[in-house]
């Protein structure tokens, strides 16, 4: 044993053991942090939902549950699509950036059935007739909780409590099938 302390050797040992220690701690953190990710069960319950569009007639709506949210799937009639531009000056945000009915497929409108005001469920009223809440109703969604109005494309009317359009969930089309929860 020499009496002289080799400081360089000591420093190298400090650094390497420090790095090894940090790597060990980091590696051990992985399982603990990963455990917080959605479990396989949660993933299965939250997985994309497939829906067969061929049975959905024009003018009708289906409600599908996806991640505890009701999803509205509307098969638009030609008349409804023609009527949408007429409402441009009555809605807050007339731009239909995602296509005429706010989806990648012109005929179908896919919306989260959750009012953007306080998360009530808006009701589907496709009829073109005077309503208690609107004398010039051209079809759309009406929220009975606080009277928010949306058109058939989910665009919010001016002067209602809801601040924004009904949300469009991630979705894609596969032939006749609609897949909710997955974008292409």
């Amino acid at each position: 044993m020499s009496k002289k302390i080799d400081h360089n050797r000591r420093r190298a040992l400090h650094i390497t053991s420090g790095i090894m220690g940090a790597v060990t701690v980091g590696a051990f953190a992985v399982p603990f942090l990963s455990a917080w990710n959605p479990s396989e069960k949660a993933k299965a319950l939250g997985a994309a939902v497939k829906f067969d569009l061929s049975k959905l007639l024009p003018g009708s709506m289906a409600v599908i549950e996806w991640r505890r949210t009701p999803i509205f799937v509307v098969h638009q009639t030609d008349e409804a699509i023609k009527n949408l531009p007429k409402l441009n000056d009555r809605v807050t945000n007339p731009a239909l950036s995602e296509g005429i009915s706010r989806t990648s497929n012109q005929k179908y409108t896919i919306l989260k059935g959750v009012c953007t005001h306080l998360s009530c469920a808006p009701k589907y009223h496709p009829e073109i007739e005077p309503k208690a809440w609107d004398q010039e109703w051209l079809g759309g969604f009406f929220c009975p909780c606080h009277g928010s109005k949306f058109d058939l494309a989910g665009r919010v009317y001016k002067g209602v409590p809801a601040p924004t359009n009904l949300e469009v969930p991630p979705h894609s089309f596969d032939g006749d099938n609609l897949i909710i929860g997955e974008e292409v």
């Binding site: 917080w36 990710n37 959605p38 479990s39 949660a42 319950l45 939250g46 991640r67 505890r68 949210t69 009701p70 306080l118 998360s119 009530c120 469920a121």
Partner: protein, 415 residues
């Protein structure tokens, strides 16, 4: 050696565990200022309420079910079927309100009398961490009954994490353990509420007190009691912690419990402010309550969050995310107060007019924000909240300037 003859058991013990040494150091010979005012009782009361929460919490845990299906029913079971279950629960829920009440007064005392100034920075810092942990603890605990307000208030708070650019949505899913707030979230919140956060709090309380005993407690005059000592080295303006401080705390603890139990027995819901009415209904993910309001102790900070109705579009910062930043900043700024105060005196009594006005503005803004936070928003209230947010921050942000230049009074030599 003389002591050894008196009590051989203590001497046997002291050779193996420094009992007498530490009792003397922290109790019987620890000097505290002999003259303080009522503001200095809140620390002791906080220790008491912490113990109340731990004990009632352990008992509640014996009957509570931490699942989505069972949580709400188990609270009803505790309230109706468990003997004195209602007492445990109301003590715990009232205890939460009391904890915050005492904490806010304790911290305001610190701000008034400069209890954060050199060399007490760490005492203050540990205290701020305790406030942060208490807020986390309260939030986690509020979710556990799985009532409507538990569910929807948690949704509001968790969606704040979702508002963080880039990582937000994934972070929110990771915290929730699901794509929506669900049973997975509930059971991890339970683990955090009963184990992780309380453990951290106990550790920080220990640090808080050890640091305090190292630098010595302050007083409303801001006089340094260490300057003048008697022959035995005891400060002339000090008195031993035990029995002087311990005994004088007892009546205060008594009065506190009278008020505490008056609330527990006669008004445990606190008019909807301690236990909110929608929370007597089980969580329903398809039905949002009319008006989501936080419990009173979060109201000032919730108000700040809501007051930010604008974002910074060219930086891609949404109003929601900016609100989150300012909201976090309103707590974070408290941590740096020791380095913002450049005054040559500690106590507000000897500080200048600017410090006094600043403290009044700060306190008034905090109270107004608290009031607004429990009310639904409208344009006027949002405007007032924005002004109050400004006057919450300004007294702290401008502190380095006004404390440095204002005229202070001379602090007396003795207490």
């Amino acid at each position: 050696m003389e002591k050894a003859k008196k009590n051989s058991f203590m001497s046997w013990l002291d050779k193996r565990l420094p009992v007498t040494e530490n009792l003397e150091r922290h109790l019987t010979k620890h000097p505290v200022p002999k003259k303080v005012n009522f503001f200095y009782i809140f620390g002791a009361l906080l220790m008491v309420i912490f113990m109340v929460q731990v004990i009632t919490g352990i008992w509640l845990m014996m009957f509570y079910t931490n699942t989505e299906e069972g949580a709400f029913a188990s609270i009803e079971y505790i309230m109706r079927d468990v003997e004195y279950g209602w007492l445990m629960r109301y003590m715990h829920s009232t205890g939460a309100s009391a904890f915050f009440f005492l904490m806010y007064f304790h911290m305001f005392r610190g701000l008034l009398y400069g209890s954060y100034q050199k060399p007490k920075e760490l005492v203050w810092l540990f205290g701020c961490f305790l406030l942060f942990l208490l807020m986390a603890e309260g939030f986690l605990g509020y979710v556990l009954p799985w009532g409507q307000m538990s569910y929807w208030a948690a949704n509001v708070i968790l969606s704040l994490f979702g508002a963080i650019p880039f990582i937000g949505p994934d972070l929110q899913v990771w915290i929730q353990g699901d794509y929506v707030l669900s049973g997975a979230t509930l059971s991890r919140f339970f683990a955090l509420h009963v184990v992780v956060v309380p453990l951290l709090m106990i550790a920080l309380v220990v640090f808080h007190i050890f640091a305090l005993h190292e630098v010595g407690a302050g007083n409303p005059e801001g006089v340094d009691i260490e300057k003048h000592r008697d022959k035995n080295g005891m400060p002339l303006d000090g008195a031993p912690f035990h029995p002087y401080k311990t005994l004088s705390a007892l009546p205060a603890i008594g009065i506190f419990f009278v008020i505490f139990f008056a609330i527990v027995f006669f008004a445990p819901e606190g008019g909807g402010y301690f236990l909110e009415k929608p929370n007597f209904e089980e969580a329903d993910f398809l039905k949002t309550p009319e008006h989501i309001a936080p419990v009173w102790y979060y109201a000032p900070f919730y108000s700040i969050l809501r007051a930010i109705t604008f974002g910074i579009p060219f930086l891609g910062i949404t109003s929601k995310f900016l609100g989150f930043i300012i909201f976090a900043g309103s707590i974070a700024i408290l941590f740096i107060v020791p380095w913002l105060d450049r005054s040559n005196v500690q106590s507000i009594r000897y500080k200048g007019i600017y410090s006094k006005v600043a403290m009044i503005l700060f306190a008034a803004s905090f109270l107004t924000l608290g009031y607004l936070g429990t009310k639904p928003v409208n344009e006027l209230r949002t405007l007032i909240a924005q002004i109050c947010t400004l006057f919450y921050f300004l007294p702290l942000i401008l502190m380095p300037i006004y404390t440095k230049y204002e005229k202070t009074l001379e602090v007396p030599d003795r207490l």
